[in-house]
Symmetry: C2
Subunit: 204 residues, 2 copies
């Protein structure tokens, strides 16, 4: 295993290649469905060589997940209490949709985990994510109380945003099959903007 020093050029390159390959493999077969050999081959390494950089399959997975979660929550963190409520929410929806378009593998990796009961993620969800959600739910509730957006259960509102946006990444196979030639991401931004605008624009 690499010593406890500054990573060499080769270490950097190979660890990055492994994580990239692992994202590909894990996101399309799940943890249990993926083999170390698959990942190694996808990274252009032999299996023992891969295990020279990571102590185990699970270690690769964990590092991938840790890196993912931060990026994943950023759009929600960016929801600005000082902004115009409706525009903030619409912008959040679009950021999230953009992530589904640009990082579908990350979305599916996450989905895979949650669908299977989030065995490896329960702690992070119960702590970090929970704090963030409570905070932002408060913010939304405040906006509603002030009459700046229509009333709706704030947590369910957040769930619906996650659900609607990630659907395009997680159920990509289904969505694309049913849309034939049309690219789902052509009409999705417009559709979601309309949906949330109609739902949340306060009745004058």
């Amino acid at each position: 295993m690499p010593a406890d020093r500054a990573p060499t050029r080769i270490q950097k390159k190979n660890r990055a290649a492994i994580l990239e390959a692992a994202l590909d493999v894990f996101s399309s077969h799940g943890f249990r469905g993926s083999t170390v050999d698959q990942i190694a081959k996808a990274a252009g390494l032999s299996k023992p060589n891969l295990l020279y950089y990571f102590p185990s399959k699970e270690a690769i997975f964990n590092e991938l997940m840790a890196g993912l979660l931060d990026t994943w929550l950023d759009p929600l963190r960016a929801l600005d209490p000082e902004g115009e409520p409706l525009e903030e929410i619409l912008a959040y929806v679009q950021r999230k949709l953009q992530m589904s378009r640009d990082f579908p593998r990350e979305s599916r990796l996450y989905a895979n985990e949650i669908v299977q009961g989030a065995p490896r993620l329960h702690d992070v969800i119960a702590s970090d994510l929970n704090v963030l959600v409570e905070e932002k739910a408060q913010l939304l509730q405040g906006w509603m109380d002030a009459g700046r957006i229509n009333r709706a259960h704030p947590k369910h509102l957040l769930f619906s945003i996650w659900s609607l946006t990630q659907h395009y990444a997680d159920f990509d196979a289904q969505v694309r099959t049913l849309m034939r030639d049309e690219d789902p991401f052509d009409a999705a931004p417009q559709y979601l903007e309309t949906l949330y605008r109609r739902m949340l624009t306060p009745k004058t």
Copy 2:
């Protein structure tokens, strides 16, 4: 394997137990992540005994899927061209939400498959589901053209209904963790009704 006659009492009982157990195991670990032994144990049988009733792990999975798909599409089939548009859609949403509450394992089994690229489902989606979706999208479009509901991309409208309702089953682990003691299904029906009512009620 059982002869090609009417199933005996024991055959009925054991095949049912196996399918029930398989639903449990497959839906929480995916196909690849599940072992025949797990299913057998959950069904109260030995592995060879289980394989006396089904020729292979894949056969169990396929029978499960075949049975599932019909039930799964029923709510959409029930969307009635003769009904009042908005009420029809809202009823569909509630039926779908009810299914997420009553059959979360079925939903997760389906989700597991789609997230991983729908390798075993692509054909059904491209044929049966596609036909149904085209038909119902037409219906929705007709309602919009007649001004009976607001305009929105009909396919994206369907996707959003699936996404929002199934989310409560598929992401159950996350939703429940973030809702603490409150049952998500308490507020969900109201939330979704409000959402689609505000979105689709035609501007007078």
